[in-house]
């Protein structure tokens, strides 16, 4: 099977800023994203997802390495300081690489 390398950017963030994150994903040229509802804990404490303020999302973007890095850099600069948010990159293989 013929596959191509792409980068998967995963972001776990408080849900409040979802629309800003999605805007950034589009602006930096990714062609899609996937979101699932999440909860968890980290340096900003426990987030139980029991109410609006406590909801988290897990956002995945499959794209070229450079796009992923640009999004992550932008998010680090703008949101890491004040929001409960983390991000990481991993290498995956896709088919129909022109989609991503």
């Amino acid at each position: 099977m013929q596959t191509s390398k792409r980068t998967l950017l995963t972001i776990v963030s408080e849900a409040t800023i979802e629309r800003f994150l999605v805007d950034a994903v589009k602006r930096f040229g990714a062609h899609g994203y996937t979101i699932v509802e999440a909860r968890g804990a980290g340096s900003h404490g426990v987030r139980t997802a029991e109410e609006e303020q406590d909801r988290s999302i897990r956002l995945e973007v499959l794209c070229e390495r450079s796009v992923a890095e640009n999004i992550l850099e932008y998010i680090e600069k703008n949101y890491y300081r004040n929001y409960a948010i983390i991000g990481y990159l991993s290498e995956v293989e896709v088919i129909r690489a022109n989609k991503f």
């Binding site: 409040t16 404490g45 139980t48 029991e50 109410e51 609006e52 303020q53 703008n78 004040n82």
Partner: protein, 319 residues
């Protein structure tokens, strides 16, 4: 006063609180929280709209102006106290001020229920006043942020979206419209579901609020003694202001008690959402713990009877 502890709603709240503190397995899915809060916000609006349909508007003007005045003055007072006495940092002070300026719809529903049961009358436009208190309060808080806190990537349009299109204001105003436009003749089963059954669902929601409060209590030590005291003193001060304004603008004793309670209540839906975007530097733990962990339970259990007693006192002095 002890009597009010036997109210189903209060017992439900205590059950939720205890379940959370004892780490019971009770778990209310977020979808249910969302359903109940949409239902309650609409229902509070509809109940108000139905009452408004039979209100005489000449008695509305003065209390309306008084309410707008409270909406401006309370967050400013709160901010000054937080900064001058509490030495709280600017972003946190501004965000907390927004919470104490704006209102808790559930606390409002509980005070109406308290007065209904006690048999005390209040004006038919109180729900309208509720929404009128919320809007200036958040606007003033944002103004404080813009002038006293570093601005960051803050866009006014974003803020106004938070203000008027936030879930709570939107649904309460929407409900007001439904109740007002439909009137008692047309409201039918919609009225049964949203108004007659309201206290039932309110009780269920308070079970959930108890759970949420219990989650916040764990953060009490992060607040420090000043903010804990503030969480009780500020509502008392706001209630006093509310009662005086109610008295001055010609509200009945019941109306003044309601206005006092709304003034005393602190937001945990509209304000947190707006502040998280407007003042990202502010620490949500502080304003959520103060509002949801201290002021909300205080108001539900002790505050409301106290404010009613305060209104009786002030109306007694004057009368």
């Amino acid at each position: 006063m002890l009597d009010s502890l036997l109210e189903p709603a209060v017992i439900f709240f205590a059950l939720g609180l205890m379940a959370g503190l004892l780490k019971s397995e009770l778990r209310i899915p977020e979808a249910i929280y969302e359903l109940l809060s949409i239902y309650l916000l609409l229902g509070i609006g509809i109940k108000g709209g139905l009452q408004l349909a039979k209100a005489s508007f000449d008695t509305l003007i003065l209390p309306l102006i008084g309410t707008l005045f409270l909406g401006i003055i309370i967050p400013i007072i709160a901010y000054l106290i937080l900064r001058r006495i509490g030495r709280i940092m600017r972003p946190d002070a501004a965000a907390i001020a927004a919470h104490y300026g704006s209102v808790s719809a559930v606390t409002f529903a509980v005070v109406l229920s308290f007065l209904d049961r006690t048999g005390v009358k209040y004006e038919s436009f109180m729900t309208l006043l509720l929404t009128m208190l919320e809007i200036p309060a958040i606007a003033v808080a944002i103004l404080i942020v813009r002038t006293r806190v570093s601005k960051g990537p803050l866009k006014l349009v974003t803020i106004f979206r938070e203000l008027f299109l936030g879930k709570s204001i939107y649904l309460m105003l929407g409900g007001l419209l439904v109740g007002f436009a439909s009137g008692p003749q047309r409201i039918g089963p919609v009225g049964v579901l949203f108004v007659d059954l309201q206290k039932g669902f309110l009780a269920l929601f308070l079970l959930e609020m108890g759970l949420l409060t219990s989650r916040r209590l764990g953060d009490l030590r992060k607040l420090g003694p000043f903010l804990i005291a503030f969480g009780i003193a500020m509502p008392l001060l706001s209630a006093l202001l509310g009662t005086l304004v109610g008295r001055a603008t010609g509200l009945s004793l019941g109306g003044a008690a309601v206005l006092a309670t709304m003034s005393a209540s602190a937001s945990y839906i509209a304000a947190p959402a707006a502040m998280r975007v407007a003042v990202p530097e502010a620490n949500p733990t502080l304003y959520l713990t103060a509002s949801l962990g201290i002021t909300f339970p205080f108001n539900i259990v002790l505050g409301i009877p106290t404010y009613y007693w305060l209104a009786q006192l002030i109306y007694g002095i004057g009368g």
